[in-house]
Symmetry: C2
Subunit: 340 residues, 2 copies
DNA sequence: GCATATTCTGGGAGCGTTCCCAGAGTCGAT
DNA sequence: ATCGACTCTGGGAACGCTCCCAGAATATGC
């Protein structure tokens, strides 16, 4: 077990104290940048630390403080989340960045949905993590309910849920939808349709409301096609229906890039040029947008910031601050590419 | 600080011992399923555990064992990895699954490339993780070099690298490329071209070699276009070049789905039907494949297994087993969709 | 100059485990 | 009966840190 020997050879706080000529307590105070340490002592300690190559043992610290200094990222229903959410990577990076700034670790909590919520509760209450971030929770999410019940520091990123007392970070879907629709109008489009989806959630409702607000008097309910899913096929079906209803349509706002890609496919099929005959815009700024032909104009989500802010909220709760549970809405930006 | 009080109210091993009427040592033995525990004692302990709701304190255990029971997933150059690798999500899930089976935690080690390798070394030698998994390392990867130097339990998933002594898990690019090309021939294609990429790595070389092997006497070096990147634009440029050289081409093997999508775009542009006039196959079975028009026939990578096997290798090293550093190659499968 | 507040330091105690040694109990062979 | 080997158990001693108390050193006010 050379590995174990090597590990135990690591310098401890006592080694640092000995080299610096101070006590354990003083080293600890320097490490945690507490007050009441003389400048001379601080210098001696920092010198000693680099001299002996000291690295703090997090297990010992966690044991003594009764905190794990870790925040969990709950990943339930793994496949849909990791494989479909276009922004998950950036969100994760944002979370990690905020966490490591505060000397916290990100641990992945992949929850197997077949296991009951008791197991989840055990995990969460077991001290493995001090707080938790939940991405894209659904309504009546069992994990979210456990978190709320346990009163653990937590934050949602993505869509607001029906659980009180847990802050969330999202985007202002209404304003974003309104803005991109307005710009569509400003490019001269008159008969603008929308392919809406996810109306069982606030995000979906808000996108539709934003569209409606932007259209003002020009709003024609006939031109709004509602579909359940944000999927590519929904875009295809929706666009076919829209063309049936309004052959003279010259603009389309699809509530996701995936749907917008479907819209594009249908338009190509029927021989309408984009953006010549019809302007098309999407939502998400996911990989669909850049891969589409032509590349989609769409609403960019500040995914990294979404993650970062959620992490910061958890961190604030951990510091004992009372955070606003009303939710944080981040600004979106419109990316103009070639489709409109 | 109610949270802290709640946390300290957790049952400890002593509480369990008291309820079970045995000693601390016996409880620990049961917890770690060691030998030399009477059936009566074991039963009493397990009963007591569920009675008091005991959850093991990992910090204390980590401190005592000098192990973190965590494995890090090194994420360097965050964006390219998380946002571009089509299989990263599944790999992560596979890793996590193997790790949690063995009671290990996955911690995300996002390395900011601006920080020097000393910091990485500190992280790795700091006892935060017992082992490390590196996805898609590049040649002369500084982190990989640090890992090799430190002798930490580690594994690569994806491409083999030029570093000795660290096992990796990948796919057999040669056989996969050969297989899909063979099937392309079997569908009656005669003039088959290839858009190759990434020839500076084994994976790229192997895919090209597999193509060549499958073509046998029909191999025509003129029909192999080499490009540096696996990108969509490489596919577009490559296909244009290929059409110039061989207008009669009736089959194309692109070394990635992204490139195959580019190939498709060019063929549509020039009015060739797929798979009618030209059969097209890709590699990866990424989201590109299903989103393409028509959906791509391609080589499926067992991404989840890739992650799982890498994690298992690290776990084996941690158990002190000597693992084969020659590399593990997993079987691929060909997915037939509509493009060939 | 003295009392008092403030800054700084040392080190005991404890966090909840595992490790390991010593000893008690059990069993079969002599 | 006696011995040795094996099975099982209890509990002291770490692991490396933080917390906190007591006391020393220094600054401040009268």
């Amino acid at each position: 077990m050379t590995a174990r020997r090597a590990a135990s050879a690591r310098a401890t706080i006592n080694d640092v104290a000995a080299v610096a000529g101070v006590s354990r307590g003083t080293v600890s105070r320097v490490l945690n940048s507490e007050a009441y340490v003389s400048e001379a002592a601080r210098l001696a300690v920092t010198d000693a630390i680099s001299q002996v190559g000291y690295v703090r043992n997090s297990a010992a610290r966690n044991l003594a403080t009764r905190q794990s200094h870790a925040v969990g990222l709950v990943v339930h229903e793994p496949h849909s989340l990791f494989l479909e959410d276009p922004n998950i990577g950036s969100i994760l990076l944002g979370i990690n960045s905020a966490l490591s700034d505060a000397d916290y670790q990100l641990v992945s909590l992949v929850i197997d949905s077949e296991r009951d919520s008791h197991r989840v509760a055990e995990y969460l209450s077991g001290g493995f993590v001090d707080g938790v971030i939940i991405v894209s929770a659904r309504a009546h999410d069992p994990i979210a309910e456990v978190v709320a019940e346990l009163g653990i520091a937590a934050a949602f990123v993505g869509h607001p849920v029906d659980i009180e007392g847990i802050p969330y970070v999202g985007i202002d879907n209404f304003s974003a939808a309104k803005a991109i629709t307005t710009r569509l109008k400003e490019t001269g489009r008159r008969r603008i349709g929308m392919i809406a989806a996810g109306l069982d959630r606030d995000s979906g409702q808000d996108r539709m409301a934003g569209f409606r607000a932007a259209m003002g008097d020009d709003f024609d309910p006939e031109l709004v096609i509602t579909t359940p899913l944000y999927a590519h096929t929904s875009g295809v079906d929706g666009m076919r229906l829209l063309l049936d209803r309004a052959p003279d349509v010259d603009g389309v706002f699809a509530a996701s890039d995936a749907m917008a890609a479907g819209v594009l496919d249908v338009l190509r099929e029927v021989g309408r040029s984009v953006p010549g005959d019809v302007g098309v815009v999407g939502f998400d700024d996911s990989a669909w947008a850049t891969r589409a032909q032509p590349p989609l104009s769409t609403v960019h989500q500040p995914a990294g910031q979404l993650g970062r802010r959620a992490a910061e909220s958890v961190l604030a709760q951990l510091r004992g601050e009372t955070v606003d549970t009303a939710g944080i809405f981040l600004e979106t930006a419109i990316v103009w590419r070639d489709s409109a």
